[in-house]
Protein backbone atom coordinates (compact mmCIF):
# COMPACT_ATOMS: atom_id res chain seq x y z
CA UNK A 1 0.00 0.00 0.00
CA UNK A 2 1.33 3.43 -0.94
CA UNK A 3 0.20 6.73 0.47
CA UNK A 4 0.06 9.51 -2.09
CA UNK A 5 -0.33 13.12 -1.00
CA UNK A 6 -3.38 14.75 -2.50
CA UNK A 7 -3.47 18.37 -1.60
CA UNK A 8 -6.55 19.89 -3.09
CA UNK A 9 -9.98 20.97 -2.07
CA UNK A 10 -12.82 18.49 -2.06
CA UNK A 11 -15.14 20.82 -3.97
CA UNK A 12 -12.57 21.52 -6.68
CA UNK A 13 -15.10 21.44 -9.47
CA UNK A 14 -17.47 23.87 -7.73
CA UNK A 15 -14.56 26.13 -6.82
CA UNK A 16 -13.34 26.12 -10.42
CA UNK A 17 -16.76 27.11 -11.76
CA UNK A 18 -17.13 29.74 -9.02
CA UNK A 19 -13.74 31.20 -9.93
CA UNK A 20 -14.86 31.42 -13.58
CA UNK A 21 -18.06 33.17 -12.48
CA UNK A 22 -16.14 35.59 -10.27
CA UNK A 23 -13.74 36.42 -13.07
CA UNK A 24 -16.65 37.05 -15.43
CA UNK A 25 -18.42 39.28 -12.89
CA UNK A 26 -15.25 41.32 -12.38
CA UNK A 27 -14.65 41.65 -16.10
CA UNK A 28 -18.18 42.88 -16.75
CA UNK A 29 -18.50 45.04 -13.66
CA UNK A 30 -21.23 42.91 -12.11
CA UNK A 31 -21.40 42.94 -8.35
CA UNK A 32 -22.84 39.68 -7.03
CA UNK A 33 -24.43 39.04 -3.63
CA UNK A 34 -25.33 35.65 -2.17
CA UNK A 35 -28.20 35.84 0.35
CA UNK A 36 -28.40 33.03 2.88
CA UNK A 37 -30.83 32.39 5.73
CA UNK A 38 -33.21 29.91 7.29
CA UNK A 39 -36.50 29.43 5.44
CA UNK A 40 -38.84 32.28 6.32
CA UNK A 41 -36.31 34.86 7.50
CA UNK A 42 -37.34 37.27 4.77
CA UNK A 43 -34.92 36.91 1.88
CA UNK A 44 -37.64 37.30 -0.72
CA UNK A 45 -39.28 40.18 1.19
CA UNK A 46 -35.93 41.97 1.37
CA UNK A 47 -35.43 41.50 -2.36
CA UNK A 48 -38.96 42.80 -3.06
CA UNK A 49 -38.21 45.95 -1.07
CA UNK A 50 -34.85 46.28 -2.78
CA UNK A 51 -36.20 45.93 -6.31
CA UNK A 52 -39.09 48.29 -5.50
CA UNK A 53 -36.55 50.97 -4.58
CA UNK A 54 -34.63 50.79 -7.85
CA UNK A 55 -35.32 53.00 -10.84
CA UNK A 56 -36.70 51.11 -13.84
CA UNK A 57 -33.96 50.30 -16.26
CA UNK A 58 -31.41 49.56 -13.56
CA UNK A 59 -29.09 46.80 -14.64
CA UNK A 60 -30.18 44.44 -11.85
CA UNK A 61 -31.24 40.82 -11.94
CA UNK A 62 -32.21 38.16 -9.43
CA UNK A 63 -31.64 34.43 -9.27
CA UNK A 64 -33.80 32.74 -6.68
CA UNK A 65 -33.28 29.19 -5.51
CA UNK A 66 -35.89 26.86 -4.08
CA UNK A 67 -36.31 23.15 -3.83
CA UNK A 68 -39.71 23.35 -5.52
CA UNK A 69 -42.09 25.96 -7.00
CA UNK A 70 -41.43 29.21 -8.79
CA UNK A 71 -43.46 31.21 -6.24
CA UNK A 72 -40.53 33.45 -5.33
CA UNK A 73 -39.74 34.25 -8.95
CA UNK A 74 -43.38 35.20 -9.47
CA UNK A 75 -43.28 37.49 -6.45
CA UNK A 76 -40.08 39.13 -7.64
CA UNK A 77 -40.97 39.41 -11.32
CA UNK A 78 -43.57 42.13 -10.54
CA UNK A 79 -40.85 44.73 -10.17
CA UNK A 80 -39.86 44.66 -13.82
CA UNK A 81 -36.33 43.32 -13.47
CA UNK A 82 -35.11 40.03 -14.90
CA UNK A 83 -35.71 37.19 -12.45
CA UNK A 84 -34.95 33.53 -12.90
CA UNK A 85 -35.99 30.71 -10.61
CA UNK A 86 -33.53 27.92 -9.98
CA UNK A 87 -35.51 24.88 -8.85
CA UNK A 88 -33.03 22.49 -7.32
CA UNK A 89 -35.44 19.53 -7.23
CA UNK A 90 -34.34 18.42 -3.78
CA UNK A 91 -30.87 19.89 -3.40
CA UNK A 92 -30.57 21.97 -0.24
CA UNK A 93 -28.26 24.64 -1.68
CA UNK A 94 -27.29 26.36 -4.90
CA UNK A 95 -23.96 25.49 -6.44
CA UNK A 96 -21.80 27.24 -9.00
CA UNK A 97 -22.96 24.95 -11.80
CA UNK A 98 -26.63 25.93 -11.25
CA UNK A 99 -25.71 29.61 -11.26
CA UNK A 100 -23.61 29.24 -14.40
CA UNK A 101 -26.42 27.54 -16.22
CA UNK A 102 -29.09 30.00 -14.97
CA UNK A 103 -27.01 32.94 -16.20
CA UNK A 104 -26.55 31.36 -19.59
CA UNK A 105 -29.23 33.30 -21.45
CA UNK A 106 -28.44 36.72 -20.05
CA UNK A 107 -25.74 38.70 -21.83
CA UNK A 108 -22.82 38.66 -19.39
CA UNK A 109 -22.23 42.40 -19.69
CA UNK A 110 -25.88 43.34 -19.06
CA UNK A 111 -25.77 43.55 -15.26
CA UNK A 112 -24.34 45.86 -12.62
CA UNK A 113 -25.87 43.93 -9.76
CA UNK A 114 -26.81 40.27 -9.43
CA UNK A 115 -28.75 39.26 -6.33
CA UNK A 116 -28.78 35.54 -5.61
CA UNK A 117 -31.32 34.23 -3.14
CA UNK A 118 -30.03 30.88 -1.95
CA UNK A 119 -32.25 27.99 -0.88
CA UNK A 120 -33.61 28.66 2.64
CA UNK A 121 -31.11 26.74 4.73
CA UNK A 122 -28.56 27.92 7.25
CA UNK A 123 -26.14 25.02 6.81
CA UNK A 124 -25.69 23.64 3.34
CA UNK A 125 -25.20 26.79 1.22
CA UNK A 126 -22.17 27.66 3.35
CA UNK A 127 -19.77 25.30 1.62
CA UNK A 128 -20.65 26.39 -1.91
CA UNK A 129 -18.94 29.39 -3.43
CA UNK A 130 -21.16 30.92 -6.13
CA UNK A 131 -18.58 33.42 -7.34
CA UNK A 132 -20.17 36.16 -5.23
CA UNK A 133 -18.37 39.28 -4.05
CA UNK A 134 -20.34 39.45 -0.85
CA UNK A 135 -22.27 37.10 1.34
CA UNK A 136 -25.27 38.36 3.27
CA UNK A 137 -26.84 36.31 6.05
CA UNK A 138 -30.34 37.19 7.28
CA UNK A 139 -31.55 36.48 10.78
CA UNK A 140 -35.06 37.42 11.81
CA UNK A 141 -36.11 38.29 15.33
CA UNK A 142 -38.63 35.46 15.42
CA UNK A 143 -35.67 33.08 15.46
CA UNK A 144 -33.32 32.58 18.41
CA UNK A 145 -30.67 35.22 18.94
CA UNK A 146 -28.14 32.40 19.38
CA UNK A 147 -28.36 31.33 15.72
CA UNK A 148 -24.88 32.76 15.03
CA UNK A 149 -23.45 30.45 17.69
CA UNK A 150 -25.43 27.47 16.44
CA UNK A 151 -24.38 28.04 12.82
CA UNK A 152 -20.93 29.61 13.18
CA UNK A 153 -19.70 28.33 9.81
CA UNK A 154 -22.42 30.29 8.04
CA UNK A 155 -22.14 33.50 10.06
CA UNK A 156 -18.36 33.37 9.97
CA UNK A 157 -18.49 33.89 6.19
CA UNK A 158 -20.93 36.80 6.33
CA UNK A 159 -19.88 40.23 5.10
CA UNK A 160 -23.18 41.65 6.26
CA UNK A 161 -25.83 40.33 8.63
CA UNK A 162 -29.36 41.65 8.18
CA UNK A 163 -31.49 41.46 11.33
CA UNK A 164 -34.99 41.39 9.89
CA UNK A 165 -38.55 41.77 11.23
CA UNK A 166 -37.52 44.34 13.85
CA UNK A 167 -41.14 45.58 13.87
CA UNK A 168 -41.89 42.40 15.84
CA UNK A 169 -39.38 43.11 18.61
CA UNK A 170 -42.07 44.25 21.09
CA UNK A 171 -43.82 40.90 20.73
CA UNK A 172 -40.94 38.42 20.88
CA UNK A 173 -38.26 37.69 23.50
CA UNK A 174 -35.43 38.36 21.01
CA UNK A 175 -32.60 40.39 22.60
CA UNK A 176 -31.06 42.28 19.72
CA UNK A 177 -27.91 43.36 21.59
CA UNK A 178 -27.23 39.74 22.42
CA UNK A 179 -27.67 38.79 18.77
CA UNK A 180 -25.16 41.50 17.81
CA UNK A 181 -22.74 40.19 20.41
CA UNK A 182 -23.05 36.63 19.07
CA UNK A 183 -22.52 37.79 15.50
CA UNK A 184 -19.40 39.70 16.57
CA UNK A 185 -18.05 36.62 18.31
CA UNK A 186 -18.19 34.45 15.20
CA UNK A 187 -17.38 37.21 12.70
CA UNK A 188 -16.02 40.45 14.17
CA UNK A 189 -15.76 42.07 10.73
CA UNK A 190 -19.37 41.55 9.67
CA UNK A 191 -21.45 44.67 9.29
CA UNK A 192 -24.92 44.51 10.82
CA UNK A 193 -28.11 46.27 9.74
CA UNK A 194 -31.51 46.11 11.40
CA UNK A 195 -34.52 46.22 9.11
CA UNK A 196 -38.21 45.57 8.86
CA UNK A 197 -39.32 44.60 5.38
CA UNK A 198 -42.91 45.14 6.56
CA UNK A 199 -42.61 48.75 7.75
CA UNK A 200 -39.53 49.69 5.73
CA UNK A 201 -37.57 50.69 8.84
CA UNK A 202 -33.82 50.41 8.42
CA UNK A 203 -33.98 49.65 4.71
CA UNK A 204 -32.01 52.80 3.95
CA UNK A 205 -28.98 51.30 5.67
CA UNK A 206 -29.32 48.13 3.61
CA UNK A 207 -29.77 50.04 0.35
CA UNK A 208 -26.86 52.29 1.25
CA UNK A 209 -24.70 49.23 1.77
CA UNK A 210 -25.69 47.92 -1.66
CA UNK A 211 -25.15 51.36 -3.22
CA UNK A 212 -21.73 51.68 -1.74
CA UNK A 213 -20.70 48.21 -2.73
CA UNK A 214 -22.25 47.99 -6.14
CA UNK A 215 -22.62 51.58 -7.18
CA UNK A 216 -26.27 50.92 -7.89
CA UNK A 217 -28.17 53.99 -6.80
CA UNK A 218 -31.55 53.40 -5.24
CA UNK A 219 -34.40 55.72 -6.09
CA UNK A 220 -34.54 58.53 -3.54
CA UNK A 221 -37.51 58.20 -1.21
Amino acid sequence: MTRMPLERKVLTENDRLAADLRQGFLRHGTWCVNLISSPGSGKTALLERTLASFEPGRRVAVLTGDIQTDNDAQRLARYGFPVRQITTGGACHLDARMVTSALHEWPPDSLDLLLIENVGNLVCPTSYDLGEEARVVLLSVTEGEDKPLKYPATFNRADLVVLNKIDLLPYVPFRIELAREYIRRVQPDAEIVEVSCTTGDGLDAWLHWIDTKAGVAARPA
Partner: protein, 114 residues
Protein backbone atom coordinates in the same frame (compact mmCIF):
# COMPACT_ATOMS: atom_id res chain seq x y z
CA UNK B 1 -27.95 17.37 3.82
CA UNK B 2 -25.26 18.56 1.41
CA UNK B 3 -22.89 15.87 2.65
CA UNK B 4 -24.25 13.57 -0.05
CA UNK B 5 -23.11 15.85 -2.84
CA UNK B 6 -19.79 16.40 -1.09
CA UNK B 7 -19.31 12.63 -0.81
CA UNK B 8 -20.14 12.33 -4.53
CA UNK B 9 -17.50 14.96 -5.36
CA UNK B 10 -14.98 13.01 -3.30
CA UNK B 11 -15.72 9.81 -5.17
CA UNK B 12 -15.25 11.57 -8.52
CA UNK B 13 -11.77 12.54 -7.37
CA UNK B 14 -11.08 9.00 -6.17
CA UNK B 15 -12.07 7.62 -9.57
CA UNK B 16 -9.81 10.11 -11.32
CA UNK B 17 -6.85 9.23 -9.11
CA UNK B 18 -7.55 5.54 -9.46
CA UNK B 19 -7.45 5.88 -13.25
CA UNK B 20 -4.31 8.00 -13.09
CA UNK B 21 -2.37 5.37 -11.13
CA UNK B 22 -4.25 2.47 -12.64
CA UNK B 23 -4.67 1.08 -9.13
CA UNK B 24 -7.40 0.51 -6.62
CA UNK B 25 -7.70 3.27 -4.02
CA UNK B 26 -7.97 1.73 -0.56
CA UNK B 27 -8.39 4.84 1.54
CA UNK B 28 -8.87 8.54 1.19
CA UNK B 29 -7.85 11.04 3.84
CA UNK B 30 -9.63 14.36 4.22
CA UNK B 31 -9.29 17.36 6.48
CA UNK B 32 -12.50 18.89 7.73
CA UNK B 33 -12.46 22.17 9.59
CA UNK B 34 -14.83 23.01 12.42
CA UNK B 35 -16.17 25.91 10.32
CA UNK B 36 -16.42 24.01 7.05
CA UNK B 37 -20.17 23.52 7.47
CA UNK B 38 -19.73 19.78 6.98
CA UNK B 39 -20.77 17.22 9.54
CA UNK B 40 -18.24 14.41 9.60
CA UNK B 41 -20.62 11.69 10.76
CA UNK B 42 -23.07 12.59 8.08
CA UNK B 43 -20.30 12.69 5.46
CA UNK B 44 -19.10 9.25 6.51
CA UNK B 45 -22.63 7.87 6.28
CA UNK B 46 -23.10 9.27 2.76
CA UNK B 47 -19.65 8.21 1.64
CA UNK B 48 -20.17 4.62 2.76
CA UNK B 49 -23.62 4.52 1.20
CA UNK B 50 -22.26 5.66 -2.17
CA UNK B 51 -19.27 3.30 -2.10
CA UNK B 52 -21.20 0.21 -1.07
CA UNK B 53 -21.65 -2.37 -3.84
CA UNK B 54 -19.63 -0.40 -6.38
CA UNK B 55 -16.25 -1.14 -7.90
CA UNK B 56 -14.78 1.45 -5.50
CA UNK B 57 -15.38 -0.83 -2.48
CA UNK B 58 -13.58 -1.39 -0.23
CA UNK B 59 -12.69 2.23 0.30
CA UNK B 60 -12.00 3.73 3.71
CA UNK B 61 -12.64 7.34 4.64
CA UNK B 62 -10.14 8.79 7.11
CA UNK B 63 -11.19 12.12 8.54
CA UNK B 64 -8.95 14.55 10.36
CA UNK B 65 -10.96 17.21 12.17
CA UNK B 66 -9.31 20.61 12.37
CA UNK B 67 -10.27 23.06 15.09
CA UNK B 68 -11.27 26.66 14.60
CA UNK B 69 -8.12 28.74 15.07
CA UNK B 70 -7.68 32.50 15.02
CA UNK B 71 -4.59 34.69 14.88
CA UNK B 72 -4.22 37.95 16.76
CA UNK B 73 -3.61 41.05 14.66
CA UNK B 74 -1.73 42.70 17.48
CA UNK B 75 0.56 40.05 18.93
CA UNK B 76 0.32 37.39 16.18
CA UNK B 77 -0.61 34.68 18.67
CA UNK B 78 -2.29 31.70 16.99
CA UNK B 79 -4.91 30.08 19.23
CA UNK B 80 -7.79 27.59 19.21
CA UNK B 81 -11.18 29.25 19.56
CA UNK B 82 -13.22 27.61 22.29
CA UNK B 83 -16.74 28.55 23.32
CA UNK B 84 -16.73 31.25 20.64
CA UNK B 85 -14.11 33.25 22.51
CA UNK B 86 -12.34 34.97 19.64
CA UNK B 87 -10.43 37.44 21.85
CA UNK B 88 -6.68 36.85 21.99
CA UNK B 89 -5.85 34.83 25.14
CA UNK B 90 -2.40 36.40 25.25
CA UNK B 91 -2.97 40.14 24.88
CA UNK B 92 -6.76 40.38 25.12
CA UNK B 93 -7.21 42.09 21.74
CA UNK B 94 -10.59 41.59 20.10
CA UNK B 95 -9.02 41.97 16.65
CA UNK B 96 -8.30 38.46 15.59
CA UNK B 97 -8.62 36.80 12.19
CA UNK B 98 -9.52 33.32 11.15
CA UNK B 99 -6.35 31.24 10.76
CA UNK B 100 -7.89 27.86 10.05
CA UNK B 101 -11.12 25.91 10.39
CA UNK B 102 -12.78 26.26 6.99
CA UNK B 103 -10.88 23.36 5.45
CA UNK B 104 -12.65 20.84 3.28
CA UNK B 105 -9.63 19.31 1.65
CA UNK B 106 -8.12 16.06 0.58
CA UNK B 107 -4.94 15.09 2.39
CA UNK B 108 -3.89 11.80 0.83
CA UNK B 109 -4.97 8.60 -0.87
CA UNK B 110 -3.71 5.14 -0.19
CA UNK B 111 -3.45 3.03 -3.29
CA UNK B 112 -2.90 -0.67 -3.70
CA UNK B 113 0.54 -1.57 -4.92
CA UNK B 114 0.47 -3.32 -8.24
Amino acid sequence: MHEMSIAASMLEAVRAESARYDAHVLAVGVKIGELSGVDSDSLRFCFDALVQDTDLAPLALEIELLPWRNRCRRCARDFTVQDYQTECPQCGSAETDLASGRELEFAYMEIENT
